[in-house]
């Protein structure tokens, strides 16, 4: 292992470490533009120049591997001068428009110009100008500001898997562009804004709305899919201005999907900010007391059932469970989409391999899932793994548009059954793999034979020895942030007989269910934050808080327990959800045994010990899950029709509407034209 000295500090590093990385390890930051630790190294900006003893010229530290006995100076006069000169060159064509640039205040170029540049310009010739590109409704371009670091091009190629941006022209005419003129069609395109070190690529919806120093930054957890992306919520006053990714190497690395980033404007529209009670067939605004009274009037004569929706937090789920117990109701359901997931065996419904664990896999079988639309960041991991090792990937289900090559095996359970017997096209691949994986889409279980399909998937895992010491290759891919948490809290109770007696429903944000199937005489309480489908059917509406408006616990598909903090207050009369349930319980004459958030969390941990271990994965025991029985041959369907609109928040978002118009509709039109 090479041992070298950087600014007088001795450091021993893994072979192959670059100087910029080694410096980071000892806490020295070398300025950079093109280098990004998740992307390949082109070494084209030269900002990271350092002086290396015995080498005649300054060296680009991002591309120079550490050698034994190297003596590196990052602060010597020579290194400083080199950086100054580079800075001067970079600024030749860069416009002086920081006051009207959205990147101002969080711009690498601005910061480094202050730290390392000259304080005046010697350049008197003309600057060049570059025409802006249309990259779609999310990313705004001001291409004259581009410094040609090519991070965006590499991000598209390496992470997003859409080679749509390129380096066009050369020399002074070099610019970043797309093929002729075209939008960037990736569900990760918003990350371009983060990777661009200058103000060339900025957020279109956020344009000219805030300056970074005005924003209050709150760490949160995303709930628009089941990945549990770590996010930073930037708010000004009571308004959420934007959402950015927060680094979590094991979950989302430093990326988030476009829905996570841009759907937040949906939190401003169509909100429930008052209680409503249905009187004479019409929903009328009411006070909390009136709403609670209306519920109380019904509780005595009716049998309750409770359904948890997709965005619910664990605190409100446990509170609701406790309330239902108090009411004597044994009808609980969290699989509002009717997916026949076996609730008793965690190994059967968790993403056991873990998201980071995907990188150790050498063969992946996707069953009834399109990870690209269902969990864009899981898909990014699969792509990353494919890119690194060219692993084999097989697909059973719909023929989907993935950004890596795969072998199409078949459309439905028949192919899966064949595989479970060790036969079929992909059997050899799985047999020879050291760490094979199966990823079963939870959406594939939304059918009567779902339990049998789950059992079949387990059989495949067992046939190919996917579960062994130190490796569990069986995974279920969920799309709902609340699902795994609710399953872990046992929010599935009651059988057909007991459910048939239910004539009152408590819907905790359950919008993705078949609302139209609710019996007309059923009394419906809806607690949630958007006036979406289910709220319209409700008899009483209790306004809750969205994920940015409460400090709450969520469990992602891996079974990772994470806490998000409250960034802003819920609008109007709306309250944090577990408090609503506790308040209602009190109004009904029951007392839930907790008053504060820590007390609810203690209750969570009592229900399931995993909740005591925040951000840790507890490996699940391998127990036989699923149901015996025959599977129909019906092919697996699509779980997510439109990536941009999957929940009440994104459906209320103008930005997501614009994306639907730009990307989904355009694609549909293309398909029609082709046919």
């Amino acid at each position: 292992m090479p041992k070298l000295t950087i600014d007088g500090i001795e450091v021993t590093v893994e072979p192959g470490t670059s100087i910029i990385q080694a410096a980071e390890q000892v806490g020295i930051e070398i300025p950079r533009f093109c280098y990004h630790d998740k992307l390949s190294v082109p070494a084209n900006c030269r900002m990271c120049l350092v002086e290396v003893e015995k080498s005649p010229k300054p060296m680009a530290s991002c591309a120079l591997p550490c050698g034994d006995g190297m003596v590196v100076h990052t602060q010597s006069p020579k290194a400083k001068q080199a950086r100054k000169n580079i800075m001067e060159m970079l600024l030749i064509n860069h416009p002086l428009d920081c006051p009207i640039c959205d990147q101002g205040g969080e711009c690498d170029l601005q910061d480094q110009a202050v730290a390392y540049g000259y304080d005046r310009s010697r350049y008197e010739e003309e600057k060049r100008a570059v025409t802006n590109k249309n990259l779609g409704p999310l990313v705004k371009t001001v291409m004259t500001r581009c410094i040609q670091c090519t991070r965006c091009v590499r991000f598209g190629e390496e992470i997003a898997g859409v080679t749509e941006l390129g380096v066009i022209g050369r020399g002074e005419h070099l610019e970043i562009g797309t093929y002729v003129e075209q939008m960037v069609t990736s569900e990760l395109s918003g990350n371009l804004i983060d990777v661009c070190p200058v103000g060339a690529l900025t957020s279109k919806p956020y344009a000219f709305t805030a300056r970074p120093w005005e924003l209050r930054k709150t760490p949160g957890i995303d709930v628009l899919d089941a990945v549990g992306s770590n996010i930073r919520i930037d708010a000004r006053g009571g308004e959420i201005m934007r959402v950015l990714p927060r680094l979590h190497e094991d979950v989302n690395e430093e990326w988030i999907s476009d829905k996570t980033r841009f759907a937040v404007d949906g939190l401003k529209n169509n909100r429930l900010d008052k209680c409503y009670v249905r009187r004479n067939g019409k929903l009328e605004a009411a006070t909390w007391d009136e709403a609670f009274a209306a519920i109380k009037a019904e509780t005595k004569k009716r049998t309750f059932g409770a359904i948890v929706g997709d965005l619910a937090d664990c605190e409100s789920i446990i509170a609701l469970k406790d309330l239902m117990k108090e009411l004597g109701a044994a009808n609980l359901e969290c699989r509002s989409d009717m997916a026949q997931i076996d609730p008793k065996h965690p190994a059967g419904y968790l993403f056991n391999t873990t998201i980071a664990g995907i990188e150790k896999a050498d063969a992946i079988l996707l069953v009834g899932t399109n990870p690209r639309t269902e969990a864009a960041l899981v898909n990014a991991r699969i792509r990353k793994t494919w890119l690194a090792k060219h692993i084999k990937i097989g697909v059973i289900g719909q023929k989907i548009d993935l950004n890596y090559p795969y072998q199409y095996l078949g459309a439905g359970p028949d192919t899966l059954a064949e595989l479970s017997e060790g036969k079929g096209a992909f059997a050899a691949v799985l047999k020879n793999a050291r760490n094979p994986m199966i990823i079963l889409g939870a959406g594939a279980l939304r059918r009567a034979d779902g339990g049998a399909i789950q059992a079949l998937a387990r059989k495949v895992a067992e046939t190919f020895n996917m579960v062994k010491d130190g490796w569990n290759g069986y995974n279920m891919l969920h799309t709902q942030a609340a699902r795994v948490g609710a399953l872990m809290l046992g929010f599935v109770e009651g059988d057909e007989a007991s459910w048939s007696k239910v004539d009152a429903l408590y819907l905790l944000g359950a919008d993705e269910m078949a609302v139209e199937n609710i019996k007309p005489d059923c009394f419906v309480v809806y607690q949630g934050h958007h006036g979406d489908k289910a709220a319209h059917r409700a008899d009483v509406i209790l306004p809750g808080a969205a994920y940015t408006e409460k400090s709450a616990t969520y469990v992602n598909m891996e079974g990772r327990v994470q806490n998000g903090l409250q960034a802003v207050f819920p609008p109007g009369d709306a309250k944090e959800d577990w408090q609503i349930v506790a308040g209602l319980a009190a109004a009904l004459g029951h007392k839930l045994p907790y008053k504060t958030l820590p007390q609810v969390r203690a209750r969570l941990a009592k229900e399931n010990a995993a909740f005591a271990h925040v951000d840790e994965i507890q490996p699940a025991k391998w127990t036989p899950f699923g149901k015996a029985g025959k599977c129909e041959s019906k092919p697996f369907g699509t779980t997510v029709e439109n990536f941009y609109m999957t929940d009440p928040v994104s459906r209320a978002s103008k930005t997501m509407q614009a994306c639907t118009d730009a990307f989904v509709k355009a694609q549909e039109e293309k398909a029609v034209a082709h046919a």
Binding site: T163, L165, G166, H173, G177, Y179
Partner: protein, 210 residues
């Protein structure tokens, strides 16, 4: 060279390589290891340009991307990087004047001006009848015979003057222009004729020209 492909002309809808060129395409692809077929992109762009009146339409880049199974923008990157690929029509006769220092010292500016006047267009423009397109390029490597222009990427017309260049253009239109020196000089011999080695030539019995 300008990156922004000018939009004042029509892009053909389709492009297909001719049968003969398809054979060449296969040959070029076969030169590279399997899976590295993208390496043939430059050769294919050249072929497309030759086949399509000296310029590469978008449809051709798309076709090449399809044949080589590479993203379209990657073909575009290569096509825009090299100045010898034309992405817009360059007339029947593409005249590329060298305006680099040696040619300039020998009077290229005047030659260009004479042409511009004669054809009624400026550098970077095409005559309305589509016959001529004028552009300026850097050193063509024929400085000894400066000033020089290159015709359709192939032939050099050398020893140009404001007078003879006009005739060259007219001849070209009539299909009878001859490449090479326009003052009758043989290859790159000195303008003033041979100045050295007279004796040796005489001894060897070599007949000297001019």
């Amino acid at each position: 060279m300008s990156v922004a492909v000018k939009k004042d002309f029509e892009q053909p809808k389709d492009f297909k390589f001719s049968k003969e060129n398809m054979v060449k395409v296969e040959l070029h692809i076969a030169k590279y290891p399997k899976g590295r077929q993208a390496s043939a992109v430059m050769a294919l762009l050249t072929l497309a340009q030759e086949q399509h009146d000296g310029w590469i339409p978008e449809a051709a880049m798309e076709e090449i991307a399809r044949i080589l199974d590479m993203p379209r923008v990657k073909v575009f990157e290569v096509a825009t990087f090299y100045t010898m690929y034309n992405l817009s029509p360059k007339g029947k006769h593409h005249i590329q004047f060298c305006t680099t220092t040696p040619c300039w010292l020998a009077g290229s500016a005047e030659v260009v001006r004479a042409c511009e006047k004669h054809l009624g267009i400026h550098l970077g423009e095409t005559t309305p009848d589509g016959e001529f397109h004028l552009s300026d390029v850097e050193c063509l490597g024929a400085c000894v015979n400066a000033p020089v222009f290159q015709h359709n990427g192939d032939d050099f017309y050398e020893d140009l003057t404001p007078e003879n260049v006009v005739k060259v253009l007219d001849d070209m239109k009539a299909g009878k222009a001859r490449p090479g020196s326009q003052t009758g000089r043989v290859t790159s011999m000195s303008i003033k004729g041979a100045t050295t080695l007279h004796d040796q030539a005489k001894k060897a019995g070599v007949k000297e020209n001019s």
